[in-house]
């Protein structure tokens, strides 16, 4: 299939996040993806190490005002935040019901019960998932795969063959999303468009996923030949990098900023006395 893609953003950038909405350039989007990833992980680790309401709430309060920095329009932002919301609330509700009981009993349903303790845990669970998910949206949407690959290979010294092989695969991701949509249209054309019921729907989707795999594999073998013809492949062969991955002040700033959020959240929890290590 030639040229014209379905989304209007093809000319705006090469991040995978662009598949769901166009990405505006902001200081954050121009940072080294390794810094973005490191920052997101720092926050995640700090928040996942404890389960309490204070740390998660603090982190959220600090993160939400930074959302405009992601460079997404309001609709794209909503599309991305919705799954985070949808994931966090039921997890919290379930935890409320099957969580460790402590304090006064609020509701007793036999084996399942809601107590003050489990309610507290439930709220904390919801807030944590939100607080970890928001940096995901904020930071990772603007990560350009090629820049990330350069950083991983040049800064972290990961084996270049695998990094480049991975990049070549990631490049195909956008194409595969378009192919999935075409496969959906083809299924409608062949009479499978509006199957009723989860069982039948699963069969159709499974068949569609299989077809996607076959298409992807065919491209992969052809791509491998093309890459080999361009000199790629000898395990120990010397290579140069056309783009130099730099870790500038802005990138240090991103990581430092995320570390600050993590420290603030942890500090607030410690000060409030609610910080409790997850393990043990």
């Amino acid at each position: 299939m030639s040229g014209a893609t379905g989304t209007s953003d093809a000319a705006e950038g090469t991040t995978l996040g662009g598949l769901v909405g166009s990405v505006r350039a902001t200081p954050l989007t121009r940072a080294n993806p390794l810094a973005l990833l490191a920052g997101a992980l720092v926050i995640a680790v700090a928040l996942l190490a404890t389960v309490d309401v204070v740390s998660a709430a603090t982190a959220l309060l600090l993160e939400i005002p930074l959302l405009p920095l992601a460079g997404l329009g309001p609709r794209a932002l909503a599309v991305r935040m919705l799954p985070v919301l949808l994931a966090s609330v039921p997890a919290g509700l379930v935890t409320t019901v099957i969580g460790r009981d402590a304090g006064a009993v609020l509701l007793d349903l036999g084996p399942l019960s809601v107590t003050e303790g489990s309610l507290d845990l439930g709220v904390a669970t919801t807030l944590r998932i939100l607080a970890v998910g928001v940096p995901g949206v904020l930071l990772l949407v603007s990560a350009d795969p090629t820049d990330l690959g350069d950083a991983l290979a040049q800064r972290l010294r990961l084996p270049p063959r695998f990094v480049l092989g991975g990049l070549a695969g990631l490049r195909l991701a956008g194409l595969l999303v378009l192919e999935w949509r075409t496969l959906s249209l083809a299924r409608r054309a062949r009479g499978l468009g509006d199957v009723r019921g989860p069982l039948a729907g699963t069969r159709v989707a499974a068949g569609q996923a299989f077809a996607l795999l076959v298409l992807a594999l065919r491209r992969a073998t052809r791509l491998a030949v093309a890459m080999e013809a361009r000199g790629f492949g000898a395990p120990g062969a010397p290579r140069t990098w056309a783009r130099r991955s730099t870790f500038a002040a802005r990138d240090v700033g991103v990581v430092a900023g995320c570390a600050l959020v993590a420290a603030a959240a942890t500090g607030a929890a410690v000060w409030a006395g609610t910080w409790s290590l997850v393990v043990g």
Binding site: M1, S2, G3, A4, T5, G6, T7, S8, A10, A11, G13, T14, V20, V79, D144, P145, T146, L164, L167, A168, R171, G174, L175, V177, E179, W180, R181, L183, L185, A186, R187, R188, A189, R190, G191, L192, G193, D194, G207, A211, V214, L215, R219, R222, L223, V225, A226, M227, A229, R230, G231, F232, G233, A237, P238, R239, T240, W241, A242, R243
Partner: protein, 484 residues
């Protein structure tokens, strides 16, 4: 072959043309490969596996040769692998892009390139490596006419500038006849000899034009006696079965591809949608076929076609659409559902609820009609390109639709498969079907006596007409993400 020579390699399917190129590129020998090897192959005096001449290889599928997401990075990839110093890399990248005529910023996304541009990008990537030999394996097979000429001109410029040896494998002789100075025809195992003909283009084509044409090669008119398709008189067109009124279409979540189109599909006729890349032909065809929702105006089905349903194909159930409109996608593999050819053909009729004996009868009939009888038990994915194409047309016909929409049906076909497809389309029209074909192929348009509808790129000044059918339901989140 001498250095700097330009060779066109011809041969029917199965004569090993691609294998020869891969061998020349040094990809078939050495530690990584498996297979058998007999005799020797010397490139620049050394065995091919050493890749001394550094052959640049350009393959057929534009999409499977792009490695990185930005134009500059992709061209630089080969140089990086050769350990060229960074400053030199970017100099070579700019020069290579200049030679192939790709005047784009280095950060331009490769996903936004057309087929012809992607092939030129692959060529630039090969040129940046300073190859002594350029090997092109059907580089224009998957391109529209404009793309074909772009690539041909880029290759000519490249070879002239660098003086590299050129070996091109192609079906389309006319395009390359003036570029090369030698034509070599490879034979199939059945022919007994590996090389059937070898010499300057005019000599070889004049001597074996007929024979080549019979093997499926597109030989220019002046070298063959019989025309591509037998003359045929299309029947008188009937009443319109499907009409588009001020139709505006777009992909879900995408920009408006067509702002206003008026189109009629009369019974027993063929309509061809033509236009440059990006003009929205496929989107229009899919909307007319009832697969995409119109964003303005509407598609109206005549009562003869709708047979009791509402007038908008978009609103029909999938099963109802199956019986009325058949769609053949550009890539046959997008339509495959089952693990045997017979099951593939039986899928549609079974979905309609026909009794088993009727299903079997229809499958038998289609297998015969499309020459697929020997392949009834084969796995659809293992078929050749031409066979998959015939299969995809057959599956669309299995449910007896009166309107058939085809997206680039003759893309990349050799002459033999092309002729078979044209015969089939003529039969359909004779039986009273209305055909809509998105195509660049002028010969197809002529052979089917099609009325052309030309699409220009959308003009933002044209206002979108209001929807003809009921107001669209509120767009759900799912549709925003485009999972439909």
């Amino acid at each position: 072959m001498a250095a700097g020579e330009r060779v066109l390699l011809l041969g029917a399917s199965g004569s090993g043309k691609s294998t020869v190129l891969a061998a020349l590129a040094g990809l078939l020998t050495g530690a990584d490969a498996d297979g058998e090897e007999e005799g020797e192959l010397l490139v620049a005096g050394r065995p091919a596996s050493e890749r001394a001449a550094r052959a640049g290889l350009v393959l057929q599928d534009p999409e499977s040769q792009v490695v990185l997401s930005r134009v500059g990075d992709d061209v630089a990839f080969g140089c990086e692998n050769l350990a060229v110093p960074p400053e030199e890399i970017w100099r070579r990248v700019r020069e290579a892009l200049d030679v192939v005529g790709l005047d784009l910023p280095l950060r331009h996304p490769t996903a936004a390139l057309s087929g012809g541009q992607k092939q030129r990008l692959a060529l630039a990537g090969a040129l940046a490596m300073a190859p002594g030999m350029l090997l092109l394996d059907e580089p224009t097979a998957n391109l529209d006419p404009d793309g074909v000429l772009e690539v041909r001109d880029a290759v000519t410029a490249a070879v002239t500038r660098t003086g590299a040896t050129l070996v091109v494998v192609e079906h389309r002789v006319a395009v390359w006849a003036d570029v090369v100075d030698r034509v070599v025809v490879l034979g199939r195992p059945a022919d007994g000899t590996a090389v059937v003909a070898d010499g300057p283009p005019e000599v070889v084509l004049a001597a074996s034009g007929e024979a080549l044409s019979a093997r499926g090669i597109w030989v220019p008119q002046r070298y063959r006696r019989a025309p591509a398709a037998r003359p045929w008189q299309p029947p008188a067109a009937g009443t319109p079965l499907l009409s588009a009124r001020a139709l505006a279409c777009a992909r879900p979540g995408g920009p408006v591809a067509v702002r206003s189109a008026d189109l009629d599909l009369p019974a027993a006729s063929t309509t061809a949608l033509t236009g440059a890349n990006g003009a929205g032909k496929t989107t229009l065809a899919l909307t007319v076929a009832g697969l995409l929702e119109p964003v303005g105006g509407g598609v109206v089905a005549a009562p003869a076609l709708a047979a009791g349903l509402g007038p908008a194909p978009w609103r029909w159930r999938s099963r109802e659409l199956l019986r009325r409109v058949g769609t053949v996608f550009q890539d046959p593999e997008h339509q495959l559902l089952t693990s045997s050819v017979a099951d593939e053909l039986a899928h549609g009729p079974r979905r309609l609820g026909l009794p088993e004996p009727a299903v079997r009868a229809r499958v038998e009939e289609l297998l015969e009609r499309l020459g697929l009888a020997a392949l009834a038990r084969a796995h659809p994915y293992t078929l050749s390109g031409g066979e998959k194409r015939r299969l995809s047309v057959a599956t669309a016909l299995a449910t007896g639709p009166r309107v058939v929409v085809l997206d680039e049906p003759t893309f990349g076909q050799d002459a033999v498969t092309w002729a078979a497809l044209v015969d089939l389309l003529r039969e359909l029209v004779q039986d009273g079907a209305a055909l809509l074909a998105v195509t660049h192929d002028r010969e197809l348009v002529a052979a089917t006596g099609a009325r052309t509808h030309h699409l220009a790129p959308p003009d933002p000044a044209v206002a979108l007409a209001p929807r003809l059918d009921a107001p669209p339901p509120r767009r759900s989140l799912r549709r925003l993400v485009g999972s439909r």
